[in-house]
Symmetry: C2
Subunit: 231 residues, 2 copies
């Protein structure tokens, strides 16, 4: 599965969050990232812009929330690029949103400071997905990145990469496989033999536990099946 991340941020170089997410993408596979930039005439050219969009399976719009919507840059891109015949060719692809916000996530709710949920605020993108026949993924929200601890940042990095790489509605098993894959990759890149060995052991451990879990689940299912047969 190919994922394309389209970043719409007017000052992407000055954004700590965007630079962090840019670094994170480097450790992924089959994910490409592109920053939207207007040409000299202040427009986007659909035929140039849409080549990599049409080639991917999952489109990600990544942007900071500006006045409860995407920055002008993304709106311009939509207007210029989602035109005949390109828009007709998007049907069946997935659409994800990576939305960064300076406000705490808890503020986006009825009765809270922002009054509306982010699902409500991002409704125009749900309408867009339905219009184009795209499969909408749940939005990935990065709230108050600058206030997060180092540990939260590390968790964010993993969650973000999984959001870009894992299938929609991924299972716990797929998430484990993904972790094992990453640990093995890290061990290959590691120079210290001891650290390399540790990473491989961790990968094996997760893998074994995961298999044991699958066996237990099967046993439980068998018990349930027998019980249902009794009724």
């Amino acid at each position: 599965m190919k994922t394309l991340v389209l970043v719409a941020h007017p000052e992407v170089k000055d954004s700590g969050t965007q630079q962090f997410l840019k670094e994170a993408v480097k450790s992924t596979q089959n994910v490409s990232r592109r920053e939207l930039v207007l040409d000299q005439t202040g427009t986007f050219h659909a035929n140039q812009e849409m080549q990599d969009v049409l080639a991917c399976d999952r489109i990600i719009f990544q942007f900071p929330l500006y006045w409860y919507s995407a920055p002008a840059l993304l709106h311009q891109w939509l207007a210029d690029c989602l035109v005949t015949p390109y828009r007709e060719k998007l049907r069946g692809k997935e659409l994800g949103l990576v939305v960064t916000t300076g406000r705490p996530a808890a503020e986006f709710a009825a009765g809270k400071a922002q009054h509306f949920s982010l699902s409500e605020i991002l409704r125009p993108f749900s309408a867009l997905a339905l219009n184009l026949g795209l499969k909408e993924l749940p939005a990935f929200i990065v709230a108050q990145f600058a206030y997060q601890t180092e540990e939260q940042h590390q968790q964010l990095l993993i969650d973000y990469c999984q959001y870009l790489e894992l299938p929609a509605d991924f299972s716990f098993r797929q998430q484990e496989e993904w972790s094992v894959e990453r640990l093995k990759k890290l061990s290959r890149l590691e120079n210290d033999p001891a650290a390399q060995q540790l990473l491989l052991q961790l990968a094996d451990l997760i893998d074994e536990r995961s298999e044991r879990l699958a066996e237990l689940k099967e046993e439980i299912q068998m018990i349930k099946d027998v019980e249902e047969g009794d009724q």
Copy 2:
């Protein structure tokens, strides 16, 4: 009450709807209209842009629906202009939206072609109004202008001017007074004495009927009051 209409349309001269609404504004009082235009650097300058906004009591964002949101031009304006200290000075003003769309209004509903209501799609502007302490007016929707009959256009013209000029939650009486005012104004501009006389007679007629209606309402209220006293 001063109303300011900010038009955000990338091709305003080519839009029949926008040109029609532009003509309509000419017959209003205390309404000014301005088309948003980016400067050569592709930005807006808050201090220039906000002078007339701060001077008005009612701000109207007028735009065509592009991919379930406003065109990029308005998003750029919001980002550039709603900055400290200007945004702090907007509290208490009214915010109205005049939204044009090429789709039938009935399509914007759960289970219909557009899936979501226009209230849901325009939610980011509700959040904006709440954030800035603006009083949100119900949006004024112009759907499929090009398919409307001449009679519908005339009705639209009257409804639109009332949306710009009348107080929020205007009463039937205020609507009548507004009509009388306009008829009198038209008669002053009319050169044909017979037509002039007709317009004045119409104005008088509406005024008289309106007074009679007010008397009847008062009588009904008196009867109700007496009945309630009996209980």
